[in-house]
């Protein structure tokens, strides 16, 4: 007996139960003489379970269903204000589709990803899921979402307005799985008051790593004369993908090759870039030590004692709420390979097990329409996924120069991820932690993690070729 035979296949199980469910639903509908032939609810369900292309055969969009439909929507929100904002984003859809009840569920931070994965393990993926670039390979290879290609082809849906790099980030094996609501490349947020008080000129568009270090050193000082530093030049994001990748790329290094088949972390350029960031803390001491965590760097920046922090343009909303000082955006400094930004972002995707793919697709389209995304940009919740909505982002200040966010994506390419992203992220975070603590040099670290990274790449290839 081969291992293949022993597999307890969840898909077969789902297929059978869903098929049976659809049969029951279908005969019940027939009994009621409701002539439900056009209803996507009863026709699409078995298809969705059988193939990845639920509507490939259809040539034109079926008439919108009139019968009551309930869509579950799992989404991000860290605050009550944010939750209200997202509810508002769905208001237009509710008006247009009065027969569809949208049931949102909001979760913050990593809890959201864990919740979606846990729901998926129970076979109940919500109809609309949060499709972040970092999880795309991992989730699509595990068949958690529906490919949008059949819908796009059938409706002749125009993707040209979406940035091609973010569409790439939300695609798996060349097929788009999510419509982007926001995206962005890292920018430097800087505390203008601190720069002014210290007499340091603001960053220019063509500043280099050396300029960055010099500015950070000038900003780092002892303001009350007790012999201890109490103001710092810069604070890093502790996460590898958020805090290190643009430095690595701008130095000519990388973490995986462009085909995403091999880990290439152990190059001198990569090690040099990681060491540069670590030295800001360990050697030059212009970066205060912060605890490991997704929000630690931002919290230190909001204390008003740190001059610069790097993250995506989505931080504008929080900066406005939490920074009690004047601030602006600047482009990241140029390394020896130039300015190489990463792009990531998030889209709306359709949960694989949905019973209402048509309504879900309508939801994805409506929530990424020019109007909806313009409202998103005006609220500062993100840099909009559509180019035609990006002007709305420029209307809101601070930052004094919001156009920096647009400039930043020009030099950017999508952040490459793997089907083993979560584990890889964990391994790399632990590794850079050690370099940031000065326990180990980056040159040694990149060698140390290679066996583990190679294993994870092997597993990645197995998953996507399965």
């Amino acid at each position: 007996m081969s291992p293949e035979d022993k597999r307890l296949n969840r898909r077969d199980f789902l297929r059978t139960t869903l098929g049976a469910g659809a049969l029951v639903a279908g005969s019940a509908a027939l009994a009621a003489c409701a002539s439900p032939a056009a209803s996507p609810a009863s026709t699409a369900a078995p298809k969705a379970a059988e193939t990845a292309k639920p509507v490939a055969a259809a040539t034109q969009a079926p008439a919108p269903s009139k019968q009551p439909v309930e869509l579950s929507w799992i989404w991000t929100s860290n605050t009550a204000e944010e939750q209200k904002f997202w509810e508002g984003q769905a208001a237009g859809f509710r008006t247009k589709y009065p027969n569809v009840t949208v049931k949102p569920q909001f979760l913050g931070g990593n809890d959201l990803y864990n919740k979606i994965q846990t729901l998926a393990s129970g076979g109940t993926i919500p109809d609309i899921i949060f499709w972040n670039g970092s999880r795309v390979q991992s989730w699509a290879s595990r068949k958690m979402a529906l490919s949008l290609e059949p819908f796009i082809k059938r409706d002749n849906f125009d993707l040209a307005d979406f940035d091609p790099q973010i569409s790439k980030a939300l695609s798996y094996k060349g097929e788009l799985y999510g419509l982007a609501y926001d995206y962005g490349a890292p920018v430097v947020a800087f505390n203008m008051d601190l720069f002014d008080a210290t007499g340091v000129p603001y960053p220019t568009a063509d500043w280099t790593w050396a300029d960055f270090l010099a500015i950070a050193q000038k900003l780092t000082k002892d303001t009350n004369g007790d012999g201890k530093t109490d103001q710092w030049g810069f604070v890093n994001h502790t996460d590898f993908f958020r805090g290190f990748v643009s430095w690595i790329w701008s130095n000519g290094g990388d973490y995986v090759n462009d085909d995403i088949t091999k880990c290439v972390l152990d190059s001198p350029e990569t090690a040099e870039a990681i060491q540069f960031v670590a030295d800001l803390r360990v050697k030059h001491k212009v970066n205060p030590p912060i605890e490991t965590g997704y929000t630690s760097g931002a919290e230190a920046f909001y204390s008003g004692k740190v001059g610069m922090y790097i993250d995506g343009p989505w931080m504008a909303l929080n900066n406005r709420a939490k920074a009690k000082f004047n601030w602006d955006f600047a482009l990241i400094p140029k390394g020896k390979a130039g300015r190489k930004n990463w792009i990531s972002g998030t889209g709306y995707a359709i949960g694989r097990t949905t019973k209402y793919p048509e309504e879900a697709w309508a939801f994805c389209k409506e929530l990424t329409s020019v109007e909806t995304l313009s409202a998103l940009a005006t609220a500062g919740r993100g840099f909009p996924g559509r180019k035609s909505a990006s002007n709305s982002y420029l209307k809101v200040k601070p930052p004094v120069h919001p156009e920096v966010a647009i400039e930043a994506v020009k030099s950017a390419t999508y952040q490459k991820t793997t089907a083993t992203f979560q584990e890889m992220n964990n391994v790399l975070n632990k590794a850079v932690d050690r370099v940031m603590l000065g326990e180990i040099k980056a040159a040694q670290m990149v060698k140390d993690v290679m066996p583990e990274m190679d294993d994870l790449m092997k597993k990645h290839l197995q998953l996507i070729n399965a």
Binding site: L8, E291, Q422, K430, A431, E439
Partner: protein, 311 residues
Amino acid sequence: MATPSLTTSPDMAVAQEHRGRRRGRETRAALLFLMPNIIGFVVFTSLPVLAAFVLSFLDWDFMLGANFVGLDNYRQLIFQDRTFHKVLGNTAFYVVLNVAGNISLALLLALALNRKMRGVLVYRTVFFLPVVSTMVAVAVVWRWMYSTEFGLINFFLDMFGLAKVPWLTSTEYPMLAIIIMSIWKGVGYNMVIFLAGLQGIPTHLYEAASIDGAGGWRKFWSITLPMLSPTTFFVVVMAVIHSFQVFDQAMIMTEGGPADATNTIVLYIYQTGFQFFKMGYAAAIAWFLFALIFIFTIVQWRLQGEWVHYE
């Protein structure tokens, strides 16, 4: 013998049967009342635990089907997984210091608050307050307090001319920081149990000891400690079981970092299962933890004869 024995008297037999039937009815009634709990335990605890045992022999991705791998998960866990070994060490460190610190402090507090004085209820409430606060909220606040450059604790250390401690920003101190916080959070619970234990010690023992000329110290060693030992036993067993399962603090304050310095067994189970899609492996770790706690509890149970005195 002409006189029939009592038990065979027809009257008595009826009465006994009656009593037996009543006892049967009572048992059924008791079972009925217990049913909600029993069902809850079976459905939400026993079955998942058994399912986890089966899972621990599988390589299950939870989306893509499962392979039977025999003892591979356990083999990897015990012989190869360096992260697990580190996590095991971290947890052991936590268990030892947290149990020792919590129990000795709880006993001291209970002794201090077990007398008539002004405001004793206020003190008891204050020490118990952290117990009823949510761990998540508490951990978030302590995380701010522990901040190396921006935190309250280092601010005070600095004010008194002491060196700042990299509480959460080094590999040496974070576990200690978590232990200190956990003791603060949990000490009130054991304090209350100790208080109850102390109040159960008959006062005549102390009176008799006083008459015999025993001092306070002597009374503590010869009366309080031995009389309190059943309470202490309960507290130690429970504290060990709880400490092995440390999770929230590490998850919220440091996400197990930096560099796994605060990663614990349960946090690692969570990461492995729900983040890395390795459900089978996570189940194996969970069963390893179960075995560990089980062995510790059995050993403690066996040892209680050596030091626990029941009246």
